[in-house]
Chain length 142, copies 4
């Protein structure tokens, strides 16, 4: 299945996860819209739910010494969410290099007609010493 | 219908609202459990959903000049929530005095067997000048 | 030295810590004032700074298996903080029982004339198994 | 004066603002480090302080109908901040096109030797109807 990328290019991925959320009023700022940083909360939650659907529990692997870290985020803010809005966060994962991978994510309206956020979030896996390392559990996803 | 209060006293209320949520990992702190302040986020969201179920949209009434404010919160932390936990927030509302009212809220496990949080949140309604004022829309709930 | 309690009673404590902060705009909600839950963030940060001033690093003792947890919070919201406001958080600590202690905290204007928040935050110390336990490092503070 | 950009290119700007902050423990997640979304909070606060130093109060201009919005953020996560860390956020502003501008920001250690975050945050100014619009107050900064 295919979802458009941030730049508008079509991307194919073998697995996509989608979660449905609703804006909570404390997430809105004085402009009456969801604060910019909050979208990163939504995106992180969606990535962890993506991993969970594929059998990886983030809290569990963290305790086991596998540290997934974000190394770069590119986020396009297309249309603000506001109080009461419901939305979906769609995520898929692809390999970038031997030790790097990227989540391609977008936040869209429930009917999918409106894109609120498009994002590319680059990640790496580190061992307990903070060194880049390959883990079978993550390799299996790519 | 009756829910136990924070102190263990049974309370009767004509209307109860319940929402179901799941812990998001960014809500957990270095202790690996949901941070104390986050429960207030859950409770606020549950209060606004309570109001919505009864026909009051918080964002809308705020724009209309009705300012619902918390004046006192009493929160009992009984059992921490952790990554992945699902839970319910149950809320009901009662009058305290002519211009004050209180939400009685609790956060419980999905089966209701475990109480995580018990709370009494006292509120007042203020007009645009920040003075306590009575509003028909709120009176109708009490 | 003495600070008034939430209820207006004078309290004596051998040690007080004060930190100075400024409201950040992302902490304000659609009402244009600091969101209720954020005050708990301020209060927690002030408690950890209090501990640090007295030689206890919260992150360090957590890693060492000493879990300080909040068991009850009573918070009086007296006057909202808004964008740009600067304020002080004053904290002191007292024993409640053998295994419980309480932070008495208030958030005041820089000149101390205006009280924004008064709070009593009850805490307990737990061991790695989540059982109440006494720790010399904490006893030394009381 | 010049600061290195995210990509390592030197950038000249007529004005730079720097603020000094300290990590608060509630900003750390279960990995024991500052959560990814929190850096965006730091960056936003630094942008608003930048504007303030140049005479623009964000809350005030928002009330006056000038809506500064982020349209794209590129954030490089170079080295995590952890409990107790103190740091500086350095910000400067440049024009991108007639109606777009960009904050170039970095988060560095107090001595400036360690870069934690590098970011390019693209903004636009909208009028009350949500349409891109030019405002004298913002033009004066560019």
């Amino acid at each position: 299945m295919a979802i458009p990328t941030v730049k508008g290019i079509i991307m194919t991925s073998s697995f996509q996860a989608s979660i449905q959320l609703k804006v909570r009023d404390y997430e809105c700022d004085m402009q009456g819209i969801v604060n910019n940083a909050v979208y990163q909360n939504y995106l992180e939650h969606a990535r962890h739910e993506y991993l969970l659907e594929r059998g990886l529990d983030f809290a569990e692997i963290t305790r086991a010494g596998v540290h997934l870290v974000v190394i770069r985020a590119e986020i396009d803010y297309k249309k603000s969410l506001k109080s009461g809005d419901q939305f979906k966060v769609i995520s898929c994962l692809e390999r970038v290099s031997r030790l790097k991978f990227m989540f391609r994510q977008k936040i869209v309206s429930l009917d999918g007609d409106q894109t609120h956020i498009g994002a590319c979030v680059f990640c790496a896996s580190l061992n307990d010493k903070g060194r880049p390392a390959s883990f079978a559990a993550i390799e299996a996803l790519l």
